[in-house]
Symmetry: C2
Amino acid sequence: MHTYEYPRPALTVDCVVFGLDENDLKVLLIERGIEPFAGKWALPGGFVNPEESLEDAAKRELKEETGVDNVFLEQLYTVGDVDRDPRERVITVCYYALVNLQEHNVEASTDASNAAWFEMDDLPELAFDHNMILEMALKRLQSKIRYEPIGFELLPKKFTLTQLQQLYEKIIGEKQDKRNFRKKLQKMGILVALDEIQKDVAHRAARYYSFDEEQYKEKKEKGFHFEI
Amino acid sequence: MHTYEYPRPALTVDCVVFGLDENDLKVLLIERGIEPFAGKWALPGGFVNPEESLEDAAKRELKEETGVDNVFLEQLYTVGDVDRDPRERVITVCYYALVNLQEHNVEASTDASNAAWFEMDDLPELAFDHNMILEMALKRLQSKIRYEPIGFELLPKKFTLTQLQQLYEKIIGEKQDKRNFRKKLQKMGILVALDEIQKDVAHRAARYYSFDEEQYKEKKEKGFHFEI
DNA sequence: CCAAAAGTGTTTCACGTACACCCATGC
DNA sequence: GCATGGGTGTACGTGAAACACTTTTGG
């Protein structure tokens, strides 16, 4: 088999960027300016440069589109059906990212392109096969958040147990029992109770906690398994 | 952003083909005839044709290399580091497949190339980044086999409970309690006890079972979750 | 009759689940 | 003082885990 036999498809990366604002799980979309699908919303993404790895390309796109870096990013799936782009064959390596909207002040509009955050249960019809990709990303998030401590990526460094619980409820889509949830999380020994508590709230102030990543890694080594 | 901006990397698919012979989990490797890595063992794979999807390309390679089709095949991960192939940039979409070595009579040698099955705990050093890919595939298999009924793909249609248990023990790497294992599996209600039992064995003959996929799908719809 | 694997129940313990009231704070 | 969310303990039931002997068959 020879190396240069075939015409080559184009190579892009797309990013499903999830963010949690105070109320909802949201996803960042870009309004397309050009055909095909001009005027439609789409996942942010772009071409992979010759000198960067796939993950670097995804990181670069993320930085360009949202201004954030240093966030959770993981490869999701690669799509490459022959006709998914009407112009020519395009292979797209998809990633998903988790950003915390309270700490990173995400600029939702960049360059000339129009960008916006959409609630997950109020999505427009997207360009290309992006609805399908987004669906896959959501499923991955929903299952992975149950057995890896990635939910913390969506929260500020300091968070209350109620915030954490609501995060799970929003993403998984089912209510959790307050006392059982707290018991379970605290028993895991990967949260540290901070001295700080909420201020200026019209009710008893909640304690802040943070996720102890070192502790988690240590425990994981010893066979500990995170599970909600 | 323009469409034709960059030189394009080559696109290939590779397959991690797992098979279970009577004793061990094995993987199919191909001995390379050409540089780079001539003489080294590598994962089977090849270029994606312009008119076939990624999955079709993987299926075709699998058929060409092993003679089997119609087996479990799932996308694993896409690798594309700049220097992973010394000749030029190559993007490889990796798949893994599960084949049953007793029913499909897999031809381990095809064409001019030399192919062979290797035990998972006696692997040679592989070409490119294939050791890493194989490692990922094994991890995926080890975790997925616990929460999806894909183990059956590695067994003949009729199998004994002991075969099933040994399959899990080999792949996960820990002994299971015989009584508890049987209790759990039978209680799931996705196995059917056949009338047939073993013949010509020098001990009490074991009953054959088969996996009831329809039943499984129905139960899954209703919220059933497979878990070992 | 011996070797080798098949097949079978019960007890124990840990964990998940269900559930309701008092506490602190701002207005 | 009232509205709002924070924080806490117990009882119960289910399911996982540990564990040993009898049965069948071929040689």
